[in-house]
């Protein structure tokens, strides 16, 4: 088996869709394009990362940083948008816009943790790396977010 870092192309092909979904979920479809390119350019420029890095945690940390930068620059624009636009803007393919709205209304830590867990399929250690917390704190954030969503959805059903 080959040792050392995988070819960048392989890593890109394996993770580009997850990065895209995550960015759409966090910055919205209009800014996702720019963040996507900035994320992967930054990843290519420093590729390969240090051997001890968890590659997905490393990648999504870059994506998170780009998303936060995007958010800040948007906040500086005169017509600041409060929250990411609805994800359903993407070709109208999202069948669950109302559920997305609930996710978007979670407190930030919970929202970021839930989205990384369920959109990008990261484990708690990876989410901890992205958010600069322990894996345990990441697990707690996901759990609290999910509990809140369950409550919302149960009460809307009854």
């Amino acid at each position: 088996m080959p040792v050392g870092p995988p070819p960048f192309q392989t890593f890109f092909a394996d993770h580009r869709d997850a990065v895209w979904r995550l960015l759409v979920a966090t910055v919205g479809p209009h800014d996702a394009d720019d963040c996507f390119q900035e994320t992967w350019l930054a990843a290519l420029r420093v590729w390969p990362p240090a051997e001890e890095e968890n590659l997905r945690g490393w990648l999504f940390t870059i994506a998170r940083r780009k998303a936060v930068d995007e958010h800040r620059s948007r906040a500086r624009r005169p017509l600041a948008v409060e929250a990411p636009e609805p994800v359903s803007d993407v070709g109208g393919t999202d069948p669950e816009p109302a559920l997305w709205d609930d996710v978007r209304r979670l407190p930030e830590k919970q929202r970021v943790a839930v989205v990384h867990r369920f959109v990008a399929d990261l484990d708690y250690a990876e989410i901890g790396a992205v958010m600069g917390t322990s894996a345990e704190a990441a697990r707690r954030n996901v759990h609290e977010g999910v509990t809140k969503l369950r409550k919302t959805w149960q009460s809307s059903r009854s």
């Binding site: 080959p2 040792v3 050392g4 870092p5 995988p6 070819p7 960048f8 192309q9 392989t10 890109f12 580009r16 869709d17 990065v19 895209w20 979904r21 759409v24 979920a25 996702a32 394009d33 996507f36 390119q37 992967w40 350019l41 290519l44 420029r45 590729w47 390969p48 994800v87 993407v90 070709g91 393919t93 999202d94 069948p95 669950e96 559920l99 996710v103 839930v114 989205v115 369920f118 959109v119 399929d121 999910v146 969503l149 369950r150 959805w153």
Partner: protein
């Protein structure tokens, strides 16, 4: 959690977004790979800042892994960087080109002996053929016929360094990384560049 499955179901990165990234990043990759469709099948080429480093019949994933290990892991599929290589190969396949005018990156050549064998092979003209013994002799080691065969089998620059022009004494085809059908096709193409061989 089943209720959250919908979060994963969004569409993947749009083709236009991926293409825009490749257009911006292509020049920053150390190795750009690109497919070239030959009449007998697909080959992959790899280009570095120094020039053409690889013309390969390997499976795509094997090629990427080999390039990452032996050249640089900063490999990206960026076809635009191989436009000139593709143009010349297309011309060759069409029988309109008998020589390649490309910068070559020899860094995937493993030994000085292999380099001498490949350079001797590069000197064999279009439409001609030589034997493994001839190539070993030109490389300065007339007895190293088998080693010359191995060196050609590991040719990183198939077609451009025309190892298909090297045959066994007596005219048997010998071997070829792209399979004997490809070798036959190339030899037939060169034998009559006016008619597409079948």
């Amino acid at each position: 959690m089943a209720e959250l499955a919908f979060l994963k179901n969004g569409p993947g990165a749009p083709a236009a977004t991926v293409e825009a990234f490749v257009a911006r990043a292509g020049d920053e990759a150390d190795v750009a790979v690109a497919p070239v469709d030959a009449p007998f099948g697909r080959v992959w080429v790899a280009v570095t800042a120094r020039g053409l480093a690889r013309v390969s019949y390997d499976a795509y994933d094997d090629l990427l892994a080999d390039l990452a290990a032996r050249v640089s892991p900063r490999v990206l599929e960026a076809p635009a960087r191989a436009d000139e290589v593709r143009r010349q190969l297309d011309g060759y396949f069409a029988g309109e080109r008998t020589m390649f005018d490309l910068e070559l990156d020899w860094s995937l050549v493993r030994t000085p002996f292999q380099r001498r064998v490949l350079e001797a092979t590069a000197a064999v003209p279009y439409g001609a053929s030589v034997t493994y013994t001839d190539v070993a002799t030109s490389a300065g080691s007339p007895k190293a016929v088998r080693a010359a065969g191995s060196a050609l089998g590991a040719n990183p620059l198939c077609i451009v360094v025309p190892c298909h022009r090297v045959l066994r004494a007596g005219g048997a085809l010998g071997g070829y990384a792209g399979g004997l059908d490809a070798k036959r096709w190339l030899l037939a193409r060169e034998a009559d560049s006016r008619t597409l061989p079948r």
